[in-house]
């Protein structure tokens, strides 16, 4: 199933001063796909998204977005894509209605009045339409921003951390909405920090220090790292994690409350080390599929080794 390519960019590079912020990033997003873009803060997600929609000019690399050249046809991309900025960027000194109205005019939407009214109704903000946007709480601003960037019915949504600071139930609603849109054929590139959200994406890319370290479905990304993972149930897991750090085969340990995840590429060595360390204790070992979180932590550590960066 190889649908229409909505985003296809190759070898994007971007420097800010002498800082190499995005390194040879290539992304492919298909139509109707929700594509998750993950990576720690400052890894270049926002910069990449801005290059895709023509807000930043890459130093090198090329590609298309919605079939338009990202270097020469950004005007057309802007008309058909909806971009939600990471930082709220609507006008605080305009009312909610005025902001939506401005957007509707910008894209020449008709009938404007009805479109704005519908958007307000869908947001549940009809009663507060005349309020100044600056007075809205963070969660409401986020919803307004999303509604505004979808007002012109874009074919592609570029969402930069749209759910940062939004409460869990609102996040769940938000993701249901995204899946509804995707079912209608709208493509979504969404950056996030949340693992549960990563798992709801059709495809993922993980970026660290400007370098794209993995791309594909969650299963593909997980499999590509060829990690074995064990869960240790028991008590005093902190001390155990400390002890395991230097053991052969144990590349990383992650504490999840009452469970310790230990991963490594050499499954046999990992198992041996774990059995030795837990011998004679009340700890219980259990083999598990490697989760996305384990994979991302592994990728992150790996990136540090590879690029010589320090955390």
């Amino acid at each position: 199933m190889n649908g229409e390519r909505v985003i296809d960019v190759r070898d994007l590079n971007k420097h800010f001063g002498d800082k190499h912020v995005v390194r040879n990033v290539s992304l492919q997003v298909d139509r109707g796909e929700i594509f998750g873009f993950l990576g720690p803060n400052g890894s270049g997600k926002t910069t990449t998204i801005r290059m895709v929609c023509g807000l930043l000019t890459p130093d090198s690399g090329r590609g298309t977005c919605l079939g338009y050249d990202i270097l020469r046809e950004s005007e057309k991309i802007k008309r058909e894509a909806g971009y939600m900025t990471q930082k709220f960027s609507f006008w605080d000194d305009l009312s909610i209605r005025e902001n939506l109205d401005f957007v509707a005019r910008m894209y020449g939407m008709r009938p404007r009045r009805k479109i704005v009214d519908d958007a307000l109704a869908q947001l549940g903000l009809v009663d507060r339409a005349e309020q100044l946007t600056g007075a809205l709480s963070g969660g409401w601003k986020q919803r307004l921003a999303l509604a505004a960037c979808m007002l012109h019915r874009p074919k592609l949504l570029l969402l930069d951390e749209p759910t940062a600071g939004v409460d869990p139930s609102a996040r769940r609603d938000f993701w249901e909405e995204l899946h509804r849109l995707a079912a209608q054929g709208i493509s979504v590139l969404v950056s996030t920090h949340y693992m549960d959200e990563a798992e709801r994406c059709h495809k993922l890319a993980y970026i660290a220090y400007g370098e794209l370290l993995a791309q594909g479905t969650a299963a593909e990304v997980a499999a590509a790292q060829k990690l074995s993972t064990w869960i240790v149930h028991g008590e005093d897991l902190g001390a155990l994690a400390e002890a395991l750090k230097k053991s052969p085969g144990v590349e990383q340990t992650v504490l999840f409350g009452a469970a310790l995840h230990a991963s490594g590429r050499d499954g046999a060595a990992l198992e041996r080390s774990l059995r030795e360390a837990t011998a004679g204790t009340a700890c219980r070992l259990e083999r598990t599929d490697t989760g996305l979180e384990d994979v991302f932590i592994h990728l992150m550590n790996h990136a540090v080794d590879r690029t010589g960066f320090r955390k």
């Binding site: 930043l56 802007k78 609507f90 305009l94 005019r105 020449g108």
Partner: protein, 380 residues
């Protein structure tokens, strides 16, 4: 240029509405719109132009007579002069003028009364610090009046036979430091352009940088709006503000400062419209070039300074050195000052205005092209 010929009226209008709404809610800017012109008018208009009263005056009386005394007291009665002391000789008088301790020195020569009685028409000498010619001008006018009235008042006495014909003595006036007098009628109309320059450039100078600093620029750039639509849209509300301010200043000039107005109001508004547009394009260009609001402010004042000094507002244009005239010739304020003065004082016909109209138009077009060129279409 692609950006110029694909103009969307609807997107431009969206910008206009947005700017109006934001302006409406921006109390400080709104206050500035009325407050700054008023403050400037009061500061410039009154400080420079009102009849200053009670100016320090010194006397060098080599001849003391009843006549001298009544002349001095008549001077005091005009309220223009305040006698601050007597000096023994001209040198000390001159020094007082230099130091600013006195603005006028009245010099009554020895034997003045004797010569007067003989009918020799002696002369009184008034030395004036004419650094600010407008300040001293009216006061000096009053001195000549005094000369006549004092002579007439004294006719009851021994000088009765002198009352007929021309005044029995002369008053010689020396304007020191700035012999070429400039009148208030010249300055107040000139204020219109100066105030508009500052206001228009300052207000638009901040609009683009404000969008950038608030992060809303990213949103604007992500929309399919063209640079020219953004800029033209941002300019419109300020055109109204500019015309409002021009009205305010015009009314103040005519009815508060009593500047004669012989020309056509339509011509004045036409000139103001062109001039406001020219300055708004400057403001928006500076705004596009500046990286932040502080830089925009600095550039505004950098632009304001030559306008203030080299446009013929502060100093007569013809009196400036060649290089200064060259700079003055590229500033729209130079042309606007000439237009305003011509309309106010000379009542020039439309045709006579043209030589000062087209340079402003050319200026606007060129600066707008620069603005569109410097408008950053990306966040780089």
């Amino acid at each position: 240029m692609k950006t110029l010929w694909t103009f969307s009226f609807s997107r431009w209008w969206a910008m206009v509405l947005k700017e109006f709404l934001q302006l409406k809610r921006d109390r400080i800017t709104f206050g500035m719109v009325i407050g700054i012109p008023l403050a400037q008018l009061v500061l410039f208009g009154y400080a420079i132009n009102t009849d200053p009263k009670h100016m320090p005056t010194a006397v060098i009386a080599a001849d003391r007579s009843e006549f001298t005394r009544s002349f001095i007291s008549a001077m005091e009665q005009t309220d223009y002069f305040r006698i601050v002391g007597e000096y023994p000789d001209e040198a000390t008088g001159r020094k007082a003028l230099l130091r600013g301790e006195a603005m006028f020195v009245l010099n009554v020569p020895a034997d003045f009364t004797r010569d007067l009685l003989r009918g020799d028409r002696p002369a009184l000498l008034v030395e004036a610090d004419a650094t600010d010619p407008v300040a001293t001008g009216t006061a000096l006018g009053a001195v000549e009046q005094i000369a006549r009235s004092v002579a007439r008042k004294d006719v009851g006495g021994s000088l009765a036979y002198l009352a007929e014909g021309e005044p029995p003595f002369a008053v010689h006036v020396h304007r020191l430091f700035n012999p070429e007098a400039n009148s208030r009628n010249n300055i107040v109309p000139g204020l219109m352009g100066t105030i508009l320059t500052l206001m228009m450039v300052l207000m638009t100078g901040l609009t683009m940088t404000r969008e950038r600093e608030r992060g809303t620029m990213e949103n604007l750039l992500a929309m399919p709006v063209r640079p020219f639509e953004v800029m033209a849209g941002k300019i419109v509300p300020y055109i109204f503000i500019g015309l409002l301010q021009a009205t305010l200043i015009q009314l103040a000039a005519r009815f508060v400062f009593q500047v004669p107005f012989v020309g056509s109001v339509a011509a004045l508004y036409f000139a103001a419209l062109l001039f406001v547009a020219a300055n708004l394009t400057v403001g928006i260009t500076l705004s596009s070039i500046a990286k932040n609001q502080l830089q925009a402010m600095q550039m505004t004042f950098f632009y304001f300074l030559p306008n203030m000094l080299l446009s013929g507002f502060m100093f007569p244009f013809q009196g400036m050195p060649k290089w200064a005239q060259c700079i003055g010739n590229v500033l729209p304020l130079t042309y606007f000052n000439r237009l305003v003065r011509a309309i106010f004082l000379k009542g020039s016909a439309w045709g006579d205005l043209w030589p000062n109209v087209w340079p402003m138009m050319v200026f606007t077009v060129i600066v707008m092209a620069v603005a569109v060129k410097f408008y950053r279409k990306t966040l780089d």
